[in-house]
């Protein structure tokens, strides 16, 4: 029940932020145009945060998510801008795009498996293993591209980031699909239940016969795949891939996850809480943007927001404990 209450509280915060921003920006925030543009913007961070949540549920962290996303984007870029002939016919382009997407997902899967292997089998703490792999991946991406951006993706591919299905922007639908799949995976599958158990008490999980190593491998592979999906959306929206794109997303994703009720020590967190958290941060930054606040003021409020939420949680837990 405690989980339900904290989600309710989070929802309340999101609504309050939404109302404040609507009042501060009369006639601008509460428009279809703004809501639509927010629906294009938040999915990148949202998908990355979902990946971060998976890593944090087991008590770990994944600092390599954005590096994986960029690596996947760059490989896609090489396929779609260098390998594909300039005068390719339409159906040929579709084939190349499909191939590029497949390679991108595979990149995520393999990178995630490497992380999982280093963490579960070699025994390196997650924060260091993923710090190392993120440096290696970014490094390789820089070596491949010499640090330049890879621009000029085909029109069909860009549709993933810039077009709508009925009234819904495709990035939003991609986020929704990831969230729904994860929701069922975490709540209903044995994999999900075991992942929560590992995060709650790893020793007990080992003794109760859970194959901890294999679950950890799977969870980091899942994070890797989510990272590559985020990479696809990012590339399709900006029409370019670069080795150091979006590096600030790493810490923002941790922030979103913690805000959404994910316990950094593992074992707690839900897709719904995380989705509300990423939405409230999007309301904040879009609203501030309209008020012509600088990006730095937004950075400041995000930090304060995180500290505030942790403070509120602390005093609430204290009250619950003392009332028992």
């Amino acid at each position: 029940m405690a989980a339900d209450r904290s989600i309710l509280q989070l929802l309340l915060i999101a609504i309050v932020v939404f109302i404040i921003m609507a009042l501060l920006n009369p006639g601008k925030f509460l428009t279809l145009l703004n809501i639509e543009s927010m629906a294009y913007q938040f999915p990148e961070l949202g998908i990355i945060s979902l990946g971060m949540m998976i890593a944090m549920l087991s008590g770990g962290i994944d600092l390599s998510i954005v590096s994986i996303a960029n690596m996947a984007s760059i490989l896609m870029g090489l396929i779609l801008t260098k390998m594909m002939p300039q005068n390719a016919a339409n159906n040929q382009i579709v084939l190349f795009v499909a191939f590029a997407l497949l390679i991108s997902l595979l990149t995520g899967l393999i990178s995630g498996l490497i992380n999982g292997f280093l963490i579960a089998h070699v025994g390196i703490p997650a924060i260091l293993a993923t710090l190392g792999t993120s440096q290696i991946l970014t490094g390789i991406a820089i070596v491949i591209t010499k640090g330049y951006a890879v621009p000029g993706f085909p029109e069909i591919f860009l549709k993933i980031g810039n077009s709508k299905l009925f009234i819904f922007p495709i990035p939003f639908l991609v986020f929704l699909a990831c969230a729904i799949v994860l929701f069922f995976l975490l709540q209903k599958s044995s994999f999900g239940i075991r992942l929560y158990l590992i995060g709650t008490n790893i020793k007990a999980s080992v003794f109760s016969g859970i194959k901890v190593k294999s679950i950890l491998m799977k969870s980091y592979a899942l994070t890797g795949v989510l990272a590559s999906i985020a990479g696809i959306v990012m590339t399709a929206r900006t029409n370019s891939a670069k080795a150091d794109y979006g590096s600030s997303y790493v810490l923002q994703a941790v922030l979103v996850a913690v805000l959404g009720g994910v316990n950094p020590a593992g074992g707690f967190g839900s897709v719904i809480g995380l989705s509300i958290a990423v939405l409230s941060l999007q309301f904040l930054s879009s609203g501030f943007n309209m008020l012509r606040f600088s990006n730095f003021a937004t950075e400041f409020t995000w930090g304060m927001f995180l500290l505030l939420i942790m403070g509120i949680n602390y005093f609430q837990n204290k009250r619950i404990k003392s009332s028992k």
Partner: protein, 328 residues
Amino acid sequence: MKKLLQQHEFVVTIVFFLVVILIGAINPAFFSIGNIFSLLKSMIIRGILALGVLIVIISGNVDISFTAISAFAMYTTSKIMLALFPEGGLLLAFAIGGLIGLLLGSINASFVAGMKLPALIVSLGTSSAIRGFMLAFIGVKIINNLPASLIAYSRSYIAKFTDASGKIVTLPSAIIMLIAVTIIVWFILRYTMLGRGVYALGGDPVSTERAGFNIKAIQYFIYCFMGFLSGIAGVLHSVFMRNANPFDIVGTELIVIASVVLGGASITGGKGTVYGTLLGVAFTVLIENSLIIIGVPSYWQKVVIGLIIVVSTAASALREKFAKLEIS
């Protein structure tokens, strides 16, 4: 011999010297006094920060806000000095920087010690709050006209040579500050009750409390001291650059942490030495600065650093695994 090999610091020392010999063999210019001085100079700021991080890591936590604190202290100190004490001395600048750092560190401390929250998450919040506050409300412009006392210090040196090509190379006096911080941290960790408390806290917080340590006081010390060192390092950075750029420093936190871990500190707490940390700093500085000397394109820098992190942490993780097997 076997015991020596099990010591992380010993292994890293050997690898370090092997790498030095290898680089020197590829390009003898590596051993020139100018190059060695420039390596030592690059070690100063990273070393001071790393020694603070060492204490945090030994206590079983990870702080990533120290670079934001450092940049904040550097920039506001320059602003305050220019506005209030344009003729002020060097000591005053370091005192202001250190104090600002200490105050910001105490924010971390009150969350970590007061509310028992993990420092990694707290410092995520404080680092974006501190950096955002500075850039949004204090300023984004680079300050180029630093007080004369800071510029004078940037020129002072304790050793001076003329190298083969007739170029004059100097070793900045600031190296003394690294030596001083090293001695202080070494003394605290080795000879004081406070230092033992830090190690105990990283080993097992519950037993530490039962043994009578004041955990809150220890944690307040850790984060205030980390903040203080960050402030000092920040002012030193503006001395070296001869300007105060608010966008500097932030972004180096992970390589500092990696240096400390490379030096044998256990990220889960309870283990770590001053010697190892300095060695780790020397190692990362060596790699960063020497790739060009041996003809590796600078594009490869990140790959090499990533490999070093993975290989060194894998080695220490595997060694711990085998050590456990031998016991059982």
